[in-house]
């Protein structure tokens, strides 16, 4: 199941593959805010890092 954090980070990477730095930066900010609020599990961090 796709989680918000993994989805955001995955979309971010897709944006970087497309050369869309601006979108990637926005998505990273959103993802980091989720992480700061403690809403991301260990597995989600791991999945996002490896994808």
């Amino acid at each position: 199941m796709a989680t918000k954090y993994v989805e955001l980070m995955s979309k971010r990477k897709e944006a970087l593959f497309k050369g869309d730095e601006k979108t990637a930066e926005k998505l990273l900010v959103l993802a980091e805010k989720l992480a700061e609020k403690g809403k991301v599990s260990d597995d989600e961090f791991l999945a996002a890092a490896y994808l």
Partner: protein
């Protein structure tokens, strides 16, 4: 400028359109934003932080501005006066009074005309999106009509043609009826039903119970679907651990799913060897980067990869610096936790920053530019004080690219800048001799070398990380890979 608050006289249709657009076009982002307690969504090419509709303003030329994140941002121009004169060279709705995009307009204009508007007119982002949404809605309506006709045709044929039978002896159109008759089928057929048919949880539980009762394991039915399985003919196998087949490991039934996104899915696998296996987009030089960094201590063990030879750029955008292909890649789990997950005391924070810098040093010295070193990809083990990197999807295997990344640490790599700033990496403290301080001096040294060779350090900073190799070659001019390697060694001397 006149203020167009809710007490002012601004066109409520426009606000409605903006609101509708935000809630439909950005509904997903808004739900995320709601969850984290604030708005931060892309809107018409602008970033809107905590957009406040009561702060809508209209300039005398008709442009609408909003206050977002303390800054003014232009969000469009409502057309209210049909007799407004058309200004020479003006763009958007104000330039053409016939382009007042509202419900009445959408109701009255034909699909063909709308398409013409999209193709031929200059429109603001919100206008374009409203028209595109309308066209999509009409297309959907067309599909509904076609579906209705197809249904009518099927009803007309009732009694004329026997229903097609599935291999399980069931009417295809009725779906799977899990009853005594079905449960009496052979075990292999039941396993196939579990694998291939859409069942609700109750149906699945009944079939699984029946299979388990016969002493068979329904496990084979739970194996992850072989999504995107590659034909051996069109793929390349990159060796890591001898005999490791990433595609087979990915499809093991006992794998534990970690997560899935636009770029693929990742599973934790028991192996052997245990680790993580992913399927999806594999970067052009991802496996090569993993291979080159084996033994550096800065990456987990590389198990192996199978990558399609059909390497291509991801569609859309301006085009990235590397291409990608579908494939499977297996690797060990990194030690520690991602830095993004760690909240440390001052002492450990300093250790983390030092390790981050040393990790960059070690990968650059091996001729790899990671190109994506944010806190989620850098793992830090607080017990051993050691840092490791993962995710080489955007990596480039080249000393020249590594040199560009190294020089861009403080300018040209916003992820590294952000990471070091947030983690308290402070430069210039009296008597400071941290790796970060030594790196700063090293970058100065490297820039002087570039200048002596007639290469502009400013051009390198401007290019920054994730620059295509061809452009790097152009910026660094006649510099060879060996010279770039020597410059990196000089840059990191003492770090």
């Amino acid at each position: 400028m006149k203020k167009m608050s809710q007490h002012g006289g601004f066109d409520p249709t426009f606000e409605k359109l903006v609101r509708e657009e935000l809630t439909t076009e950005f509904s997903e982002e808004l739900s995320w934003a709601d969850e984290i307690g604030e708005w931060n969504v892309g809107d018409f090419g602008e970033v809107m932080d905590g957009f406040d509709f009561s702060q809508l303003c209209q300039r005398t030329d008709g442009s609408l501005y909003g206050i977002a994140g303390g800054k003014q941002c232009r969000i469009g121009t409502p057309t209210t006066a049909r007799d407004k004169p058309v200004r020479a060279g003006a763009r958007g709705a104000g330039a053409d009074p016939s382009r007042q995009i509202n419900k009445r307009f959408l109701r009255e204009v034909t699909t063909q005309k709308l398409q013409q508007y999209l193709n031929e007119r200059k429109l603001y982002g919100y206008q374009r999106k409203v028209i595109e949404a309308e066209l999509k809605r009409r297309e959907g309506a067309g599909n509904a009509t076609a579906a209705l006709k197809a249904l009518q045709a099927r009803l007309d044929n009732v009694g004329k043609k026997p229903a097609e039978k599935t291999p399980y002896g069931l009417d295809k159109d009725l779906g799977v009826m899990v009853n005594k008759k079905l449960l009496a089928q052979d075990t292999a057929i039941l396993q196939r039903i579990l694998r291939e048919r859409s069942l609700n949880p109750n149906q699945r539980a009944r079939v699984e119970e029946e299979v388990a009762g016969r002493g068979e394991s329904p496990a084979s039915a739970q194996a992850p679907p072989k999504r995107g399985a590659l034909k051996q003919k069109g793929s390349t196998k990159i060796e890591g651990v001898p005999g490791y087949d990433a595609a087979s490991v990915y499809n093991r039934p006992d794998n534990e799913k970690l997560g899935e996104g636009a770029m693929g899915a990742a599973y934790r696998t028991k192996g052997p060897p245990p680790g993580v296996v992913k399927e999806g987009a594999i970067g052009e030089q991802e496996a090569a980067a993993w291979q080159r960094l084996q033994g550096s201590g800065r990456v987990p063990e590389f198990h192996g990869a199978v990558v399609s030879t059909d390497m291509k750029s991801v569609e859309g955008g301006l085009g990235g610096h590397v291409r990608e292909a579908k494939g499977f890649l297996g690797m060990g789990e990194a030690q520690g936790k991602p830095a993004a997950q760690l909240y440390l005391d001052r002492e450990n924070q300093q250790k983390l920053v030092d390790e981050y810098v040393r990790t960059r040093r070690d990968i650059h010295l091996r001729g790899v530019a990671h190109n994506d070193m944010h806190g989620g990809n850098f793992f830090f083990d607080t017990n051993t004080g050691k840092g490791q990197l993962v995710d080489f999807g955007l990596a480039q295997v080249s000393y020249k690219a590594a040199l560009v990344e190294a020089i861009s640490t403080f300018e040209g790599d916003w992820q590294a800048e952000t990471f070091l700033t947030r983690r308290g990496g402070v430069l210039g403290a009296p008597g400071a001799t941290t790796p970060l301080d030594r790196l700063e001096k090293g970058i100065d040294r490297a820039e002087r070398i570039l200048q002596r060779r007639g290469i502009s350090p400013e051009a390198v900073h401007r290019a920054g990380i994730r620059t295509p190799q061809a452009e790097i070659d152009q910026i660094l001019g006649p510099m060879t890979e060996d010279q770039a390697k020597a410059t990196i060694e000089y840059l990191y001397d003492g770090v």
